[in-house]
């Protein structure tokens, strides 16, 4: 294959990567923006999303599309419920203290991961794509499902934008984000908003995982990579900045995909991480972060 078509293929792969990454990074970013905490178990919610997707599509016989659509509904709901419970039971108890929350979510990471290891087993499992459909470019054929992942992710991002900026729930969220105490004074149930946002963050990760499950294999250790990538995205974009996170997800997802195709995935991860170091040297608050006074 010539360089041109190869570059096109690599950027398509990168775009798929960026689409899923932007969903999970947005989840992490929302949680940080509103609760001011980092959820280290974020990658495990992603992994559980994929595992549920696999289980649902496996349990439903018939057309794989049916299973996929069911998974798209069930996985985020269950994951969201779990995350909501975790927030109300564990994180509320430690008052969402940033450092304590990190430790607690590391604990949650192990609990979730190891429970899945017990229930699901250590094997990687493949999930059928909901439809087989090839788009034939002059140089290579490309999976139509992968292209649809990009579109579905974009649609989901639009929905999130709508909820945040146009609905009452989004209003409550933004109010809590800007000034927690004032929001409480105005009668906003801050505790519930926290729980809901924490759940929403986990649901976004789970949605991303459902989309990627038919492309990648489902495995109980698959959560670490998206977690680290989301961290990188959120730091580069500026902690808590949605705009920055989306832009960074696009850049990092694309570059990761392209470098992975040309060289090796390991090298790609090393480069993205060093990129973060550079950002921190020149702009410690990230690209779109607000500088603290």
């Amino acid at each position: 294959m010539d360089l041109g078509p190869f570059l096109l293929l690599a950027s398509l792969e990168g775009l798929v990567q960026a689409a899923v990454l932007s969903l999970s990074a947005l989840g992490l970013c929302l949680v940080f923006g509103v609760l001011r905490v980092v959820n280290v178990a974020h990658g495990e919610f992603y992994m559980v999303g994929a595992v549920i997707a696999w289980s649902v599509s496996h349990a439903l016989s018939g057309h794989p599309l049916l299973g996929f659509l069911a998974a798209l509904l069930v996985a985020p709901l269950l994951v969201g419920l779990a995350a909501f419970t975790a927030d109300r039971v564990i994180l509320r108890k430690i008052n969402h203290n940033p450092e304590a929350t990190i430790v607690a979510t590391i604990g949650m990471l192990y609990v979730i991961q190891q429970s899945v290891l017990i229930g699901f087993g250590p094997d990687a499992r493949a999930m059928d794509p909901p439809f087989y459909f090839h788009i034939n470019f002059p140089w290579f054929g490309y999976s139509g499902y992968k292209l649809s992942v990009i579109l579905m992710a974009a649609a989901l991002l639009l929905m999130v934008w709508y909820v945040i900026s146009r609905t009452r729930l989004g209003l409550l969220m933004r109010a809590t984000q800007i000034d927690r105490e004032m929001a409480q004074v105005f009668g906003i149930p801050v505790g519930w908003v926290y729980g809901l946002v924490f759940a929403a963050g986990a649901m976004l990760a789970a949605l991303g995982a459902v989309l990627i499950a038919p492309i990648r294999q489902v495995h109980y250790l698959m959560g670490l990579d998206p977690l680290l990538m989301s961290f990188i995205v959120v730091i580069v974009g500026g902690l808590g900045s949605i705009r920055g996170a989306l832009l960074a997800a696009l850049v990092i997802g694309m570059s990761d995909g392209i470098i992975s195709m040309f060289f090796s995935p390991t090298l790609a991860k090393m480069i993205s991480t060093l990129l973060v170091a550079l950002v921190l040297i020149f702009k410690p608050e990230g690209l779109f972060g607000q500088r603290k006074s």
Binding site: F32, R36, V37, V38, I90, K93, I94, P98, E99, A100, I102, V103, A104, I106, G107, M108, L109, Y110, V111, I112, Q113, Q114, S115, L117, I118, L224, L228, F231, I232, V234, I235, L239, S264, T266, L267, K269, M270, T273, L274, V276, A277, L280, I281, P284, K292
Partner: protein, 319 residues
């Protein structure tokens, strides 16, 4: 020397003396385990300097451990260095790495610092995998026979003997504990605590807080690195597993369990947690579940750890 200083010094020396006498009564298996634990306890001591005293939560200390491990092991494996020079080289390399990484990571604060250290550590891990021709990657390298003994001050030291390993580990642990004890009870320790409690006020009083934090980072990283070097040299094995996030988390857990900001806490935490994991891994493959549950319960109900709680309730003189 006032009364509480005397009491705490007695306690520390008592603990070390207890460890000194332990091998006379213990079977070989436990002797080996405790050797391992003591090395990990040095790692935890180093971690605690940064977390417990300077108040900086690092999620990537495995990188310093691995740094010492490889800086000691690789010259021996590839260049045929002797053990003592490799050990000193590893300490120097870890100090340098800690200074460099600290200078970058300390530009961030709070949560960002934790994430950045986590990611740097992941880069170190990926680097060891990427250059697996040199490092042995996941499978690791077993150090050759000439690294199993060395001569120092005219004495032949045989690293295959469990007793020798035990006392080397104990010697290193004692040295580290005394160094840390002196430091945290001196001026620098008070500066660390000042930064931990209120960084802006410390800065306002005219202290260079960045430098204070960097010192903590370098001391912490160097101790962690020497723990890594000692681990590699004593057990003649270096591998990527020691650079995984798992090790960064374990050391955090040791420190939290034993008591954040106490000198003996990390040592105690290492002992308890190591035996706990040992116990669970006999019964289930998912022994990390225990780690997870322990972390959650500790942070919810027991955030000061064993010694931290003791100090708060009954023993206020504990350092």
């Amino acid at each position: 020397m006032d009364n509480s200083r005397k009491r705490s010094l007695t306690l520390h020396i008592g603990v070390l003396a207890f460890l000194f006498l332990l091998p006379f009564v213990l079977p070989d298996y436990h002797q080996l385990t405790i050797t391992r634990i003591m090395i990990l306890a040095i790692f935890a001591l180093g971690y605690n300097v940064l977390f417990g005293y300077a108040g900086l939560l690092s999620l990537g200390h495995a990188m310093f451990f691995a740094c010492g491990l490889y800086a000691a092991g690789l010259p021996i494996y590839h260049l045929g260095w002797a053990v003592p020079s490799a050990f000193l080289f590893a300490i120097a390399v870890s100090a340098l790495a800690a200074a460099l990484i600290g200078a970058i990571a300390l530009r961030t604060q709070g949560v960002a610092f934790m994430i950045v250290t986590l990611m740097f550590s992941q880069v170190v891990y990926l680097t060891t995998l990427y250059f697996s021709d040199t490092t042995g990657g996941d499978e690791g390298l077993v150090l050759p026979g000439h690294a199993r003994s060395f001569e120092i001050l005219g004495m032949q030291v045989d690293l295959t003997s469990p007793q020798v390993r035990y006392y080397i580990a104990l010697g290193l642990l004692s040295a580290s504990a005394l160094i840390v004890y002196r430091w945290v009870n001196g001026g620098l320790g008070r500066e660390w605590v000042a930064v931990r409690e209120n960084e802006s006020r410390t800065r306002m009083l005219g202290y260079n807080t960045f430098l204070i934090k960097l010192k903590a980072m370098v001391i912490s990283g160097t101790l962690s690195g020497s723990a890594g070097a000692a681990y590699g040299l004593l057990f003649a094995y270096i591998g990527s597993t020691f650079a995984t996030i798992q090790y960064s988390i374990d050391v955090l857990l040791f420190t939290l369990l034993g008591g954040v900001g106490t000198v003996l806490g990390p040592i105690l935490g290492s002992f308890i947690m190591f035996y706990l994991i040992d116990f669970f891994s006999e019964h289930t493959t998912a022994y990390l579940l225990a780690t997870g549950v322990a972390l959650i319960l500790l942070i919810m109900y027991f955030p000061l750890g064993v010694l931290g709680t003791l100090r708060k309730k009954w023993l206020p003189w504990l350092p």
